[in-house]
Symmetry: C2
Subunit: 358 residues, 2 copies
C-alpha cells in the first residue's frame, strides 16, 4: 500500500504532537498581539496562556488525528492540525477551572493557574485578597481558552459544510464534559460512594470527552459514515474508562515524580473514583471507616488508605477491569472498516493510555 507508506513517512505521532504545539504557539501569538493592543498590562495573561498550554500529552488531538486517518484523512493535513488543536483549548479551560475547584496547587509540576496569579498578586503587593485575585484570573483565563477553542476550530480552513457538521460533535462534547464536571462536583458533596455513579462521571468526564468525541471529530472532518463512528464508539468508551481507571490508580499509587501531582492526591482531595467506591463496597466496617476518614483529609494517612485499597481487592479488580476493557476496545477495532494504519495507531494509543506511569 504505497499510500499508507507515504503518509507514515509524512507524519509520525510525535511529528503530529510537535505540529500541535506549533499551532498552539501560532494561535496564541496572535491572541497575545490582540491582548497587548488592548493594554500592555495584559502581558502576564498572554504569558500564562503560553505556559499553561505548553505541556501535556496531546491525547485528545491524537485521538482526533487517528479518527481522521481512520476515515481516510491525510495525516499531514495542516487543517486537521488546527482543528485538533481546538481540543487542547477546551482542555486548558477544563484544567484551569478544575484545579481551582479542586484547590490543586500544581499542574504538570508547575503552579496551577490560580496559584500562579495568587503569587503574582503577592509579587506586585496587590491590594485585597491574593486568593480571590488568583481565582478570578483562573476563571477568566479558562473563559478565554474556551472562547478560543471554537475560534481555532472555525478558522482551521476546513470546508464550511464539514465544519458545521463537526460543530455538532464539538458542541455536544463541551456540554457533556461540563455536565461530567458538575456530576463530579456533586459527587464530592455526597457522604456515600457508589460504583455506578463513579462510572457515570467517568463516562462523561473522560471516556466520551477524551476518546470518543475526539475520534468522532476527526472522523466527521474526514467524512466518516455512521458505521465508522459507531466503531469508534465501541473502541472509545471502554478504552476511555480504562484510561480513567489507570488515572485513578496513579492518583493513589503513582510516583509524584512521574505524575507531577503529590502522591496520594486523590485520597487527600477525597475523589469518589471507581477504585475507592469498590473498596467501600467490599471493605469491612473498620476498613470503610478508616478509608472514609482519609478521604478529603489533608493529613490523611495515605499509606493506610493504599493498604485498604489493596487488601479489599479493589486495586486488583480495577487492574482486571483495565485489562478487560482494553481487550474489548482492541476487539472493536478488528471488525470495523478502519484503515490498517489507524488501527495500529489506536492499538498503540490503547496501550499508552492504560499502561503508563504518568
Amino acid at each position: 500500500m504505497p499510500q499508507q507508506n507515504r503518509t507514515l513517512t509524512a507524519m509520525s505521532a510525535s511529528d503530529f504532537t510537535a505540529a500541535v504545539a506549533s499551532e498552539i504557539d501560532r494561535f496564541l501569538a496572535a491572541r497575545r498581539d490582540q491582548l497587548l493592543d488592548i493594554d500592555a498590562s495584559l502581558a502576564p495573561v498572554a504569558q500564562a496562556a503560553f505556559d499553561f498550554t505548553a505541556g501535556g500529552k496531546r491525547v485528545r488531538p491524537l485521538f482526533c488525528w487517528w479518527g481522521w486517518q481512520g476515515a481516510g484523512g491525510d495525516p499531514a493535513d495542516p487543517r486537521l492540525v488546527a482543528a485538533a488543536t481546538s481540543l487542547e483549548f477546551v482542555q486548558a479551560c477544563a484544567l484551569a477551572h478544575d484545579d481551582l475547584m479542586d484547590r490543586s496547587d500544581t499542574r504538570r509540576g508547575e503552579p496551577s493557574m490560580h496559584r500562579r496569579f495568587e503569587a503574582h498578586h503577592r509579587d506586585i503587593n496587590g491590594l485585597g485578597d491574593p486568593v480571590g485575585f488568583g481565582a478570578g484570573a483562573a476563571i477568566l483565563l479558562g473563559d478565554m481558552f474556551l472562547s478560543w477553542s471554537d475560534e481555532i476550530l472555525l478558522t482551521s480552513g476546513m470546508p464550511v459544510d464539514v465544519l458545521l457538521s463537526a460543530r455538532r460533535i464539538f458542541d455536544a462534547m463541551r456540554t457533556e464534559v461540563t455536565a461530567g464536571q458538575f456530576l463530579d462536583l456533586a459527587e464530592q458533596s455526597r457522604v456515600d460512594l457508589d460504583v455506578g455513579r463513579a462510572e457515570l462521571v467517568m463516562r462523561f468526564k473522560t471516556a466520551k470527552y477524551t476518546v470518543e468525541r475526539p475520534l468522532h471529530l476527526g472522523g466527521v472532518l474526514a467524512g466518516a459514515d455512521p458505521a465508522l463512528l459507531s466503531a469508534y464508539s465501541a473502541y472509545a468508551l471502554p478504552i476511555g474508562e480504562a484510561f480513567q481507571m489507570r488515572d485513578d490508580v496513579l492518583g493513589v499509587f503513582g510516583d509524584a515524580e512521574h505524575t507531577g501531582k503529590p502522591s496520594g492526591d486523590d485520597i487527600i482531595e477525597g475523589k469518589h473514583t471507581v477504585l475507592v467506591a469498590l473498596a467501600m463496597q467490599r471493605g469491612t466496617p473498620a476498613q470503610r471507616e478508616t478509608l472514609s476518614a482519609a478521604l478529603g483529609n489533608p493529613d490523611a494517612d495515605v499509606a493506610a488508605a493504599r493498604q485498604i485499597l489493596t487488601d479489599t481487592g479493589a486495586l486488583a479488580e480495577v487492574e482486571d477491569r483495565i485489562e478487560e476493557l482494553t481487550a474489548r476496545a482492541l476487539e472493536a477495532l478488528t471488525g470495523a472498516g478502519i484503515g490498517e494504519n489507524a488501527r495500529q495507531g489506536l492499538t498503540d494509543m490503547a496501550y499508552a493510555a492504560t499502561r503508563r506511569s504518568r
Copy 2:
C-alpha cells in the same frame, strides 16, 4: 415608505425582546433534554440556566437588532433573533463569573448563581464546603453558557459565509470582554485610582462589548459595508461609555428597589469607576482619605462617600460627560447611511441607556 411601515408593524422592540426570551427558552429546553439524558441529577443545573437567563433588559440583542436593521435587515427575521440571542449567553457567562469574582450575593434581586448553589448544597446537607460547591457550580454554569453562545449563533440558520464573517466580530468581542474583566480585576488590586485606567476598563468591558460589537454583529449579518460599521463605532463608543457612567452613578446613588442591588454597592465592593477616580483626583487630602477608607469596606459609610462624590464635583462632571457623550453619539447617527427606522431606534436606545433608574 411602506417598507418601513410594514416592518414597524411586523416587530416592535418589545416584540423583539419577547422573541429573544422565547428563543432562549427554546434553546434551553433542548439543552435541558440533553442534560437529563446524561443524568436526572442535572435537573437543578438546567433549571438554574432557565432562571438565570429569564430577566434582563436584552440590551445587547437590541443593539444587534438595530445594527441589522440599519444595514437593511428585516426586523422580523427569526434567524437574527437566534443570532442576537447568542449575546445573552455570553452575558450570562460574564454575569455568573463576575458575581462570583465580586462576591455579589444578588443578581436582579435573586440570589447570584454561586449563592443559589451554595444554598442548594446546604438544602441537601452536602458534604464539605457549601461555598466551594457554589463557586464550582457557578464556574461550570458559566462555562456552559459560553459554549452555548456560539452554538446558538452557528445554528441560527444564517448563510454559512455570513456566519463566518460574523464570527470574527463575535470572537474579537469575547476576547475583548474577558480582557476587560481582567483589567477590572487587576484594577481592584491597585491602591491608587486613575481616570485613564477606569476609562480603559469601561471601553472594553462595556462600550465595545455592550454596544459596538453587538451593532457590528447585526450589521455584518446583514452585509453592512465598512463605512456603516465605522458609523456604528462612532455612535457606540460614546454611548457605551455614557451607559457605563450611568451604571456607575446608579451603583452609588441608585435606589435598591430599582437596581436590584444593595444601595451603594459599588462603594462597598470598592469598584474603581471613573466617578470615584474623578473624586480622588479632585478631593482634598481629607476627602480622599475618607473615600479610600470606604472603598471595599463592607461597613462603609455610604452616605459620607456620596457626599464626597457630590462635593468634589465628580458627580456633576460625570453627569456632564454623560450628556456630552450622548450628544456626540446622536451626532454620529446623522451623517451615516443608517435607515431612518434604525436611526430612531438607536436614538431611543441612547436615551434609555443613559436616562434610566435601573
